[in-house]
């Protein structure tokens, strides 16, 4: 059974069909890429998977479980987290707090425990902080704990978003153009980071425009064009595929 299975997924916005009858799978432990020209419907797929939109047709299954009827926070709690194409950090909060919020589903303290600061709450909070610091170290943001998220340079904000998404300890990580706006050095660091995350046993579904990233680290690549899947294969074969070449050239 694939970790994620998307079946005949269609998403319409009024007259516009952003995703048309998409079927694809993501196997456990792979780095799976989803590429395509601007407006092809890639982000829309993420938005459907994470419960932001209800699909017009079709469904998606995570570990065999239907997920399209879940609300976004429920999707997170079963092990799927994401980053956003247009960075959506909690800008006025510290870097550490951003991670702690990412760990929301793994912590428990509710109202009364929080107000009374019972021992369990204090222990949980201390442990969460330690883990958050480790995560920051992992993505190369050690020492930035107390900075406001909005004051970080762009590349670091992207890394913080990844760390925040890892906070929930997801099985499947959805990355929406993580390399956008990065310089070559940052991009190659990012590739290393993504492969390390996979090596730790997580599965990755990646949307990316930077072909160097896609071709170097993906196991399989699906290509969308005007909402339709036009190719789905290894990076080498997809690169040679005529329809893919045409779709990208047609873009100008």
């Amino acid at each position: 059974m694939p970790l994620l299975e998307i079946k005949n997924l269609t998403m319409r916005f009024g007259g516009l069909t952003a995703v048309k009858n998409l079927t694809m799978t993501v196997e456990e432990g792979e780095i799976r890429s989803l590429i395509g020209p601007n407006g092809a419907g890639k982000t829309t797929v993420f938005n459907v998977l994470t419960g932001i939109y209800q699909p017009s047709k079709g469904n998606a299954f995570f570990q065999g479980r239907e997920i399209c009827s879940l609300r976004p926070y429920q999707v997170t709690s079963i092990g799927i987290t994401r980053t956003f194409q247009n960075i959506r950090l909690f800008g006025n909060m510290t870097v550490l707090d951003n991670i702690l919020i990412g760990m929301h589903t793994r912590t428990r303290s509710e109202l009364l425990a929080s107000v009374l600061k019972v021992r369990a709450t204090r222990t949980e909070e201390a442990e969460a902080r330690d883990q958050a610091r480790e995560l920051l170290q992992f993505v190369g943001l050690a020492g930035k704990e107390q900075e406001l998220a909005r004051n970080l340079p762009y590349g670091q904000q992207r890394r913080l978003e990844i760390a925040r998404a890892l906070g929930a300890d997801p099985k499947l990580l959805l990355l929406d153009e993580p390399a956008a706006g990065m310089n070559p050095q940052e991009t190659s660091d990012l590739m290393e980071l993504i492969t390390t995350i996979r090596a730790m046993g997580r599965t990755i579904l990646l949307i990316e425009h930077d072909m160097k990233v896609v071709m170097n680290i993906s196991d399989r690549v699906a290509v969308l064009d005007y909402g339709e899947k036009i190719a789905d294969s290894t990076p080498q074969e997809v690169q040679k595929d005529e329809k893919v070449v045409k779709a990208y050239l047609g873009e100008g």
Binding site: Y73, R88, F90, G91, N92, M93, S109, E110, S114, E125
Partner: protein, 298 residues
Amino acid sequence: MISAYYYNLLILIGINIILALGLNLITGYTGQLSLGHAAFMSVGGYASGILTVKTGIPFLPALVIGALVAAALGFLVGLPTLRLRGDYLAIATLGFGEILRVTFLNLEITGGPFGLRGLAKETNGLIVFIATVIALVVIWSLINSRVGRAMIAIREDEVAAEAMGINTTRYKVLAFVVGAFFAGIAGGLYAHWFRYLNPASFGFMKSIEILCMVVLGGLGSTTGAVVGAATLTYAPEFLRSFFPVISEYRMLFYGALLVVLMLLRPQGIMGTSEFSPLKVYHWIRSRQGVKTTVGSDS
């Protein structure tokens, strides 16, 4: 001993601080604009007042029960936040406040337009002080906890908060419940201080007054809410001693204050920061030459 005038003023300041702290949780931290906070106060006031006057239940239990009734109402008002955002939520809370006011105006048990009379003077400085401190400690611990972080995350970016696994509905409703609870406490204290309740005291204008306190202090700053409440309680009294007509123009004063504030310092006195001596030091240092960057818009 302080004079009766200042004693009265201090009690009012305490009550207003409790109100501002609650609204700040809803609007300042969780980002849900509420224009009906005075309604929760009136519920706490009437509920506890009716209990002490008509059933003879002692003051303190009545105070807590009144607050719980207000909290229950906060739950009901919080529910529309499932669907409503921004302006629509603000209008819904405004409507709720007015509905409640008119209801109290027409009920027999509340004394209708004549108000609820005959309350005992149970509130005193010590009780108000203790209640204020409890409100401060509770809100402060809440804000610096997992729950508070979730609320602030909702204010910052609701979509991202939900994507982090936060059940945004739940925490928005929770903010209303806690905020309403404290407004209920404030209402009960108010009722048993002035010994008289009238629906007119808890109208839209009172809600706006509380909102002004929170905005003046800085939405999302607990110390700011305290400063805002104290300032806006004292300022009209202070001004009245110089210009006796000012009380007639109280709302004009609030309006003008808000306009000036929006022009000069839209984030309020404290912004989202908290007061601490170290920060004052850094602020003074930064004023001496070092240019600080203003937050980017995004």
